[in-house]
Amino acid sequence: MMGRGEVHRMSATTTPEPAAAPPAPPAPPMRPAPPVRPSRMPGWLGNPWGRPRWLRLTTFLYIAWSLLPVLAAVVFSFNDGRSRSVWQGFSTRWWWGDPNLSVFHDPIYTNALVHSLELAALDMLIATPLGFLLAIGLSRWRGRGSGSANFLMLVPLTTPELAMAVSLLLVFTQLSVLPFTAIALGTTAQVIGQVTFSVSYVVVIVRSRLAAIGPEYEEAARDLGASARQSLQHVLLPLLLPAAFASTLIVFALSIDDFVVTQYMSAGGETVTIPMLLYANARGAATTPALNAVATIMVLVTLVGVGGAYLVLRWFGHRSGEAQGDSAGQMGMDLTGME
């Protein structure tokens, strides 16, 4: 039953060695290492420890390709002449200097700018709270219908925007049923259209944040004596604050950027936004570099929105220690004095 031959195998390890051990026997000859097969690739490319040069080059080329046109548009907004393609010297006349045709003097531009900001503000004010309610509701909805509701919430994200715009137009202008008859094309329809698709983004952002937070903080609050409403108010909402900031800024960027829905819902010159203006005048012969200036404003505003959302999220992450972060973030938190 038991291998007799194995009996003494372990005895060597358990027997204590004598104090003065005899010199160790010479090490057995090492087996020669297998020959290294020479790589067919050149050294700098075949070297697995080398820097990822190709990746860097590709990335750099892509960034250049995507930024250069924007940069060109920005540069020509400072052109001294009327041309948007031939450089005639630096000036700020299309930004401010020209009393009639500059961005901030020509009523076509200023109206569009004001209307764009107006729509963005309304979209933010409506879509963010609405998205919050939907997200919290969806995350608590268990059982029948919750799966399809979750899926349907994502439909506006995937619907081609043109399809949605045309459908909304048909509904608002053709259907003679309340509440659609009450909605006239113009600002109201534009806001409703923008809210319709931007709510989905808010829901996605807030739901992912809710999933990251998990149910435990709310349970802890309930356990410590907070009612359902109090735990929402004192624990969940503060924890959702970064998502609130982020989604507000994203909604802002979406609204400022939107062309298709806003265009279809518009009614005349009063409801022209910057993207609509850009679209209408991009190829016009009479168009001045003031249009480039408007485009530049768009780029900056969107950049501020999205960049701000990123920074806010990162800052909150550091604050609550989610990203065990660099000392700069930690220091920023200490300096702000926590409360």
Binding site: R4, E6, M10, S11, E216, R222, D223, L224, S231
Partner: protein, 379 residues
Amino acid sequence: MEMTAQATTVPAIGGHGGEVRLQSLEKRFEDVVAVDSIDLHVGSGEFFSLLGPSGCGKTTTLRLIAGFERPTSGDVLLDGESLAAVPPDRRNVNTVFQSYALFPHLNVLDNVAFGMRYQKVGRKDRERRAREALELVELGDYAKRRPHQLSGGQQQRVALARALVLRPAVLLLDEPLGALDAKIRRQLRIELKALQEEVGTTFIFVTHDQEEALSMSDRIAVMHEGRVDQVGTPREIYEGPATLFVADFLGVANVMEVEVVGSGAAGCRVRVGDYELLAGCGDLGLTGSASVVVRPERLHVMARDQGGENCLPGMIDRTIFVGSNLQVMVRLATGALLQASVANDGVDLDSHEQGRPVSVHLPPDALRVLAPAGVTPAT
């Protein structure tokens, strides 16, 4: 933590120990029975552990007591009153979560003071009591820190202070030491037990770590597949396991399949292969096939020629040196492998080397007869 001296003078934490009774408590999730009709009584001021492997229903039981889940049937009584219609925020019961669930947007002091604002405690009293509670867990200097700036052990103490400052009748602890490393865990085990004795609150402690449960609890309920297999003091459960599962889950147990061949005043005689042994404890009324369990530390490994009554011949299969003792695996002539624990009191290692023929003495009072695997005893 040195909370011993202070806790008697400062009434910052602790309350009367509540008495908890679970009555035919059952919880189903869809088709899964998480808690299967449990009856338990936890006495006032007791340190009571729910011990079992993951998925045995111990955490669900805790959540039913806390009120996070509603029982499918049955009831939880606190000091004789039903909690069936009481939401979690109205129960005089607090929880220390496995992940601590310290609010990341509040500093340590505000975390500890959180619950008092719902108890109509004035702002000043809130802060004073929160500070006292933090002092008790030796974190007075950390009041203005954020939870994530504390170590795991410190976070755990904040969670304890946050719950105990509300003076609950019962404190529920869901694997509170699970996220800590081994050394801190051993230290906190002692401190937690001392704290519990000091404040007098009833502790219901959920763990899968048998050593934790044995070293801290007044009584333990061993749970298995949604049921309670056995309730008793640590010693009763370790030395007198009622089921094979309990014997196996608490420490190492040698299990042998035997045939009961007769019984007498001293115990019953069981047959293992060609040998007969006298077993002195367990379910001595069993007949037919049964299991016999014996703890490794109760076996005596002797030279082959020293054998006598209740001895089985075997051969050492392997010896593992673990410092304070030797784990000797003995292959019996019946084919079974027994693990024996031999105290390292200067024992001669050579006499336990591999392949040496030995005789294993199984004292009758260490041999416990249980219903064979798969058969639940009729208790």
